[in-house]
């Protein structure tokens, strides 16, 4: 059976990683393991944007990917971007092994609210399901409560549930069988 590997890129709250490990194992029905942490991604820093290139980060993840049949999810506190967009919550290779999520905009503090570690964990799980879902070939889902729906802001992410919609669940099962 395929495996999902979690890898932190720079410092990440330990509680979040534990929550993700359990939550993703449940969501995908796969074993989830952790790889050795990667250092802070200073190589991906763009001084003009004060953000980190998710493309550069994915290149680093490629180096630690254990094999073609597994999935790797990088988790970072750094705010990520791709050139055309002002930010991304995460990025993934469609039908490929690599994905990454940023926790930067999942913290309540980012929006000038009091910290809420439970909410952070839930958001991190939904975003991780979304990016890993892409690695299994799932595309954006029109069902707003499905983790595979497109969230362009934090409110839309909070509207999602941490359970697949019926359609995405079937597609995921088919992808896992393959």
């Amino acid at each position: 059976m395929s495996l999902i590997y979690l890898v932190t890129v720079g410092n990440v709250e330990e509680g979040v990683l534990d929550f993700l490990q359990l939550g993703l194992a449940d969501a995908f029905g796969l074993r989830v393991r952790c790889l050795d942490p990667l250092p802070d991604p200073s190589y991906a820093f763009d001084p003009k944007r004060h953000q980190y290139s998710s493309v550069a980060l994915m290149h680093e993840l490629m180096k630690v990917c254990p094999g073609p049949d597994v999935r790797v999810l990088g988790v970072t506190e750094r705010d990520l971007f791709i050139p055309v967009l002002s930010f991304v919550f995460g990025q993934a290779q469609l039908n490929g092994p690599l994905s990454v999520v940023s926790l930067a905009r999942l913290h309540q503090e980012f929006y000038q609210f009091a910290a809420d570690s439970r909410l952070l964990e839930e958001r991190a799980l939904k975003e991780s399901m979304h990016e890993l879902g892409h690695t299994f070939g799932l595309v954006h889902c029109p069902e707003k409560s499905c983790p595979m729906s497109l969230a362009t802001n934090i409110r839309q992410l909070d509207l999602k549930r941490s359970a697949w919609c019926v359609s995405c669940e079937i597609l995921l099962e088919e992808a896992l069988v393959e």
Binding site: R49, I82, P83, V84, L85, S86, F87, Q91, V139, L150
Partner: protein, 452 residues
């Protein structure tokens, strides 16, 4: 399904190009990339994309604006989004002027780009649906370029399909310009002879001797100038269909020759002694009343019965007014391309004018009128003034002039006109004609007049 739509991302920077392509793929689209304007133009030549994302600044001689202009030449309706890192009013104006549908400044937020793509795809989907519905509508009302929603024409369409594969002779009767040859071609192309020749002959166009050699061919030396053997139309049409137009005009001798071909399926070339056998489906057409010609002894009754195995009578355009808007729009769509005009539709008042015209030249006259209006039109909509020549023709007509027709034809026309005026009200029509209702019924039956 988003995956029906393909998007082309054009940018010389690999990171920019591939990351946008990856994001669009995650959104469910099929995406291709091009690293230069030149590559983008080549790709667009080979395939139409729903959306083109084009970076404004690209090296190598062809920048974003130039790329967009070239793509637009190839794909008039392409949706092109120009992407730039620098927002200046000048570049924005230049991009929009050259036809960019949108202009985005990177980095833009996810919501903006997602809404933009969704909006364009929505429009493209509607355009495609519209096109599909138009095609479906055209298919419903047309058979091989014959367009009609008139019930009698629809019956003809069904009949064509029913008889297409038979070898039986068909006689098509209808006024000039009603599309008799189109019906004949429809029968041929719906039949199992479709990939064999369809040979048309206008019997009225040639003198008797010429028509004879035209139809049956001739042997070398059969007459002065017959330097070599020539196959006639019947031989050319072997295994296919021969269409004998204006059959009512042929001479008694040719009537006899034709009867022999229809009976024996064989003939002799002019000046020849060898019997030629052919497998030909004969479709004949005429705008004269053949039954009447038989009664008057101008047309052989045995030939008439041989020809009239399957009879198709095409109603004149004035009896299928409901087809005028359909036909007018069909001709606008087809002819506007031919005459190089960007006309899209016809106004309601112009259609009203077309509906009141009597169309003695039938569909052909309507087609010519649309072409004439297109040539002089200066807008994207044909309006009533574009058809002023029709109104003039109506004014020019002397209301008291009597056309050169038989008394019976005149009576038929008077009855048809009264029925039309009273919208099929027989009591009123009889009153207007000054005859009894029962007499009117008899005459309707006699002249085979439609009551609606």
């Amino acid at each position: 399904m988003k995956s029906h739509w393909e998007i082309l991302v054009v940018d010389d920077e690999e990171v920019m190009r591939e990351s946008l392509a990856a994001w669009l793929k995650e959104d469910g689209y099929r995406v291709e990339t091009a690293a230069s304007g030149r590559e983008a133009i080549e790709k667009s030549r080979a395939k139409d994309y729903a959306i083109y994302f084009v970076d404004l600044k690209m090296p190598g001689g062809i920048d974003g604006i130039e790329t967009m202009m070239q793509i637009r030449k190839l794909r008039r309706d392409a949706s092109i989004i120009i992407i730039t890192a620098y927002a200046t009013v000048d570049t924005a104006i230049a991009a929009m002027k050259e036809g960019a549908q949108e202009y985005i400044v990177k980095p833009c937020n996810l919501e903006e780009i997602s809404l933009l793509v969704t909006r364009i795809i929505k429009v493209r989907t509607l355009q495609r649906e519209n096109e599909m519905l138009k095609k479906r509508l055209r298919k419903t009302y047309s058979l091989n370029d014959i367009i009609s929603k008139n019930p009698r024409m629809q019956e003809i369409f069904r009949l064509i399909e029913d008889v297409a594969n038979l070898r039986s002779t068909v006689l098509i009767q209808g006024e000039s310009g009603t599309g008799k040859e189109l019906i004949a071609r429809a029968i041929h192309s719906s039949s199992d002879r479709a990939d064999q020749p369809f040979v048309g002959v206008s019997c009225a166009a040639l003198a008797e001797t010429l028509l004879e050699s035209e139809l049956f061919g001739y042997e070398k030396g059969a007459f002065t100038g017959a330097a070599s053997q020539k196959k006639g139309k019947f031989e050319q049409a072997d295994r296919g269909t021969i269409f004998l137009d204006e059959i009512g005009d042929i001479s008694p001798k040719l009537q006899m020759d034709l009867l022999r071909v229809l009976q024996e399926r064989s003939f002799y070339r002019v000046g020849g002694s060898e019997e030629i056998r052919v497998d030909v489906r004969v479709i004949a057409a005429t705008n004269v009343n053949l039954q009447e010609a038989v009664r008057e002894g101008r047309f052989r009754d045995d030939l008439f019965y041989r020809l009239n195995v399957i009879n198709i009578r095409i109603p004149p355009l004035r009896e299928r007014l409901e087809d005028i808007p359909l036909l007018a729009r069909y001709f606008i769509e087809r002819l506007s391309v031919e005459v190089g005009k960007d006309v899209e539709d016809i106004s309601e008042d112009a259609l009203q004018l077309l509906l009141t015209h009597s169309w003695p030249g039938n569909v052909r006259e309507l087609e010519n009128s649309i072409e004439r209006a297109l040539v002089t039109s200066r807008s994207r909509l044909l309006t009533r003034p574009d058809f002023s020549f029709l109104a003039k023709e109506v004014e020019d007509q002397d209301p008291f002039s009597i056309p050169a027709v038989t008394l019976q034809e005149l009576e038929k026309q008077a009855i048809e006109s009264a029925i039309k005026r009273t919208r099929g009200n027989i009591k009123e029509a009889a009153a207007q004609l000054g005859i009894e209702r029962s007499t009117l019924y008899d005459k309707i039956k006699k002249y085979e007049i439609a009551r609606s």
